[in-house]
Symmetry: C2
Subunit: 432 residues, 2 copies
């Protein structure tokens, strides 16, 4: 039988089995078989030797602002309000355009692929252009179009944005890589009326809701003051959780808020680097884990992270939670890898299609080189991935059954051109 | 004039000047000149094109156990006592030998160089073998021979260890790369008598003291119970700080302990990854900074980290401290880079020789590639180094005026052989 790709003799991470050296065949975008001696059974167009490589599902990044690529390191080590109002917002007001977003998003997609991310869930503006760049890069994306009460770069009001989302949803409905989502920015930028309209639209189109929530203590205090309810309680009171919601940040949830999210099958996108760097803080997720609800990993935008390494995020989160809970056994390595893959897929309601290596699922796979000094010795691949490895070791990336990175070379993107463009934008932004 | 190396047109980080594109010449192991158009003035044996590269002093790792390389990922996600007594100690008791240490240390030295570390301060056993491997790799090392009250792999008692240190000090006295140090393991493994002997020996030979201190709350409680003094107070009461001391961990220092360390010009080696991963905890270093004493960065051993990336440590520490202190301006990027370089040099009493780019100082330099997607755009090299970059971008490493890594290829070490050896040891250790 002919297949598109044969991944030969890799250390395969199937979550329900022990890691083992096996092969994988891929046909029409999906995983056809996982087993031994597959080279005898299939004739493959592409054969990838996976010897001395870990083969695992690609990372799912559930909270990003991919088109903020050109703001990476633009300003750091500043208080949140100064950072936003004196640096990020003015530069966005001045430069955001369809072309800027298209270029910056392509840069971000390239960086994500180099970090082993095969699916990302974004929140930004000009989703059509981000979709174009994601498609070009060959990466799977859920594009949350930002909804705010005030005018944004591309629209005068929320109703225009809702109309745009509807149009984009129709445009990309048959696209295998792209979904749209409704992304009310936050409860402090989006009033009750628009939050409800956002939820209604998401329900009507059967798409996700993606919102920043409970990121800072200030936000919680302001919400209590204004609504006499905590953020999750407030959203619950207006029926927001009737939709499929991914809540980004969610640092300051009390018991009742956790119960509400758990009851509604909502997911959390944890953004540890960004929360620490902006001094938003950190909290123990032990209670969240005990509530059994679904955690996933977000990178946030590079303006506040400042990179897109899921490996860095999971290493950071696992270690921080051990110290916070005075318990080195919490969030063991395998659980962290699952949170960063199938956890993300569940958050995006895509766990039937992606997030693990299973026959019939989409072939979103990454290959991690372990034949190097940094990776050896290796007693347990999960431990190695979470505590020892860096994105440098991610050599090959396959998304939807297509090879998008081979031996760290991007297939669909001209890296040189991308770097030149970034340098060009840097000069302009710096002058500003 | 002839020189050994000309580094041409790099973005040079001199801490007392703005980053600027300049060149550096190196002769007889030292920095001869930093300036422009040096290619017209000098004839160089080696010319390194540093275009699109940051040139900075190499990282100084002030607390490591380099020969624990083969224990990387051997056991994780376990409580400290179980990890030590059921995994690390038994395997050390069974396998530690001169040959094992030599092999494992070479692996660790290679990994350090790949992470841009040009000097490390170690604490372990069989220092002679570690010295041999460090010399082979071409890395600068301060080798603290572990002192404990009970027998260790190579010696029956502390007096034998002191004699060994004296012998090693003499053997390596003229060696440009190697220093020895006295490393009493901790106050709970080393009694008063041996602590005093250690200090006296260090003073006599003019070498460093290196000790684990105040790593866990338990250690502080036990010390209070036994000595009615906190750990630093106890060491002060026996005159320990008459020596030049590097204190590893130092998480739980109260005001008086901080005053004692500051008064004695002692330095702290911060080991954030290890402290988090073992759930030893974390503490705010704001007070430490306010006391003005010298901070430096340690990786600890790979058994508890589990890698040797100083870039990871500084990113982690800077972000964690911002969140802990509710202050995103604390430990800004440039300060972090200084802590990881000249801070380390000061800790090891080597700041006259290494830790910054200055004419006359030893040429311990690393070159970091910024001509890649992950690094662009780059507004500020310090921010880029701390928040965005990974060791992958460290391309070339020069130590003592010698190129030890070129375009990520180790010059003095056969990487293939090293990997094979690690795989061999892994099989043996795993069986055990």
């Amino acid at each position: 039988m002919n297949v598109d790709i044969l991944l030969n003799n890799g250390l395969i991470l199937e979550f329900n089995k022990k890691p083992e050296i096996k092969s994988i065949t891929i046909k029409d975008g999906s995983i056809l078989e996982v087993g031994k001696n597959l080279e005898k059974k299939y004739k493959a167009t592409h054969i990838i030797d996976a010897t001395d490589k870990i083969v695992m599902p690609g990372f799912v990044n559930t909270h990003s602002h991919v088109a903020m690529s050109y703001f990476k390191g633009l300003s750091d080590d500043l208080p949140l309000q100064e950072w936003l109002s004196e640096h990020i917002w003015p530069v966005e007001a001045k430069f955001l355009s369809a072309e800027f977003v298209k270029d910056a998003a392509l840069h971000g997609c390239a960086e994500m692929i180099k970090n082993g991310i095969t699916t990302f869930s974004d929140m930004y503006f000009f989703g059509d252009q981000t979709a174009e760049s994601a498609e070009k890069a060959g990466i799977r994306a859920v594009l949350g179009e930002g909804v705010l009460d005030f005018p944004v770069a591309n629209y005068q009001n929320a109703d225009e944005i809702f109309a745009y989302i509807r149009k984009m949803h129709n445009k990309y409905e048959k696209n295998e890589l792209i979904d749209f989502a409704v992304a009310p920015h936050a409860i402090y930028t989006c009033g009750k009326e628009n939050l409800i309209k956002a939820k209604d639209l998401a329900l009507e189109l059967g798409i996700l809701l993606h919102i920043h929530l409970s990121e800072t203590k200030q936000e919680v205090q302001d919400c209590l003051k204004k609504n006499r309810l905590r953020p999750v309680e407030y959203l619950d009171s207006i029926g927001f959780f009737e939709g499929n919601v991914v809540v980004a940040h969610a640092l300051w949830l009390d018991e009742n808020e956790q119960n509400i999210l758990a009851k509604n099958n909502s997911s959390i996108a944890i953004n540890t680097s960004s929360n620490l760097k902006l001094a938003s803080g950190f909290s123990s997720f032990k209670n969240y884990l005990d509530h059994g609800f679904n955690l996933s990993i977000g990178t946030d935008g590079v303006a506040s992270n400042n990179n897109l390494s899921i490996l860095q995020e999971i290493s950071l989160l696992a270690k921080l939670q051990k110290a916070l809970n005075d318990d080195p056994t919490i969030l063991p390595a395998k659980e962290m890898i699952q949170i960063a893959t199938i956890g993300g897929a569940k958050a995006l309601k895509k766990s039937e299609q992606i997030g693990s290596i299973e026959v019939g699922k989409k072939a979103d796979l990454i290959l991690i080189d372990i034949d190097n000094i940094e990776a050896q010795p290796m007693y347990d691949p999960y431990s190695h991935l979470v505590y020892s490895s860096a994105s440098e070791q991610i050599k090959d990336v396959i998304i939807n059954g297509k090879i998008v990175m081979k031996d760290r070379e991007l297939i669909n993107i001209d890296a040189k051109e991308l770097i030149e463009k970034a340098k060009y934008y840097q000069k302009i932004l710096k002058l500003f």
